[in-house]
Symmetry: C2
């Protein structure tokens, strides 16, 4: 096996092992030793690739951000209407995060602002696409696009946060879309936030 190829495999093994460790016990609780134990890599081999635990975390977050940018580019390039683009993009992101521990871990690290100082930019994607949806006449009359974008974003953040399990994330996202986009209250009940009785 050429040395360069072996180095690549080792680097990948460290990333997967660290991602699994962060995923199971959390970034703060994970130690360099627990990561090395999990991936079966010596300290020497580790230090050839990374300076410390923080450096692996940053690499995981960067990989997630690159992956996200790629997905975003693909979905924006498909020529779908703005709401379909948003539903499709978030759905694919959820399915990828469900099955890939490296992305799942990168997402959690980016949420904790590790390796991604300004967050992962999802709030801006929501804002852009919901504004475009308003321009395209996709929203109910009277809906404020900036407000709707913030609420849709919050609903998906919450759907991610309340799940004990990454399996089912795409299903939870689909629930959010069904309920929020269709609306919950019947015509008879005012949408005002003040109790009326």
């Amino acid at each position: 096996m050429p040395q360069q190829h072996r180095a690549k495999l080792t680097r990948r093994a460290i990333l997967v092992g660290a991602a699994e460790e962060f995923d199971v016990i959390g970034y703060d609780a994970a130690t360099l030793s627990s990561i090395l134990r999990r991936c079966g890599i010596t300290k020497g081999a580790f230090y050839f690739h990374f300076a410390d635990k923080e450096a692996v975390a940053e690499a995981l977050a960067r990989q997630y951000l690159r992956n996200l940018a790629e997905m975003r580019k693909q979905w924006f390039g498909r020529g779908l209407d703005p709401l379909s683009t948003l539903v499709g993009l978030t759905g694919e992101a959820a399915r990828r995060v469900e099955r890939d521990v490296v992305l799942r871990s990168g997402l959690l690290l980016a949420c904790q602002r590790i390796g991604a100082e300004s967050g992962d930019g999802w709030d801006e994607v929501f804002d852009e696409l919901v504004r475009k949806a308003a321009e395209a006449g996709q929203l109910r009359p009277g809906v404020d696009p900036a407000e709707a974008a913030r609420v849709l974003y919050a609903a998906l953040v919450g759907a991610h946060a309340v799940g004990d399990d990454p399996v089912g994330l795409a299903d939870r996202f689909a629930e959010v879309w069904r309920v929020v986009l269709a609306g919950v209250a019947g015509e008879g009940w005012g949408a005002d936030a003040e109790p009326t009785g």
Copy 2:
């Protein structure tokens, strides 16, 4: 000052100091020394009331849960319709959490399952009230109450999580109610979670 009264004040000072410390730097980062420094209490006086940092955290979480149970009882007793009860109860909880660091800290600790093994029970409140709303004919035809309850709960959890600042929590909750209860999508756009273009 009678000794019992002084002891009560000291206990209160410890709770407020610990709540502020957890609120600012987080439960994990807070130490017994940093808490003592903040409330200006000696170690001896602290140990008269609590065994350790964990014990203060448990007391804070219990105080939040008691407060929540009281609010819940009041709102359920007002004879409002179920959706108004839910909007009113969550709104009051948000306003209290905004202005009271002891409750804010207790909420965060309960979310981390510190002093509240089974969570704070908000998900069950949502489930109960949205089912009652369905029975009372308050939901749009075709809306699944259990699903709507999960999504509304997730949206408020998300609105709590995305805010950098506890100020504005009640406003963010009001946004969620406005958008989710009124519905976002226009009649022309299918609420299906699959892109159609």
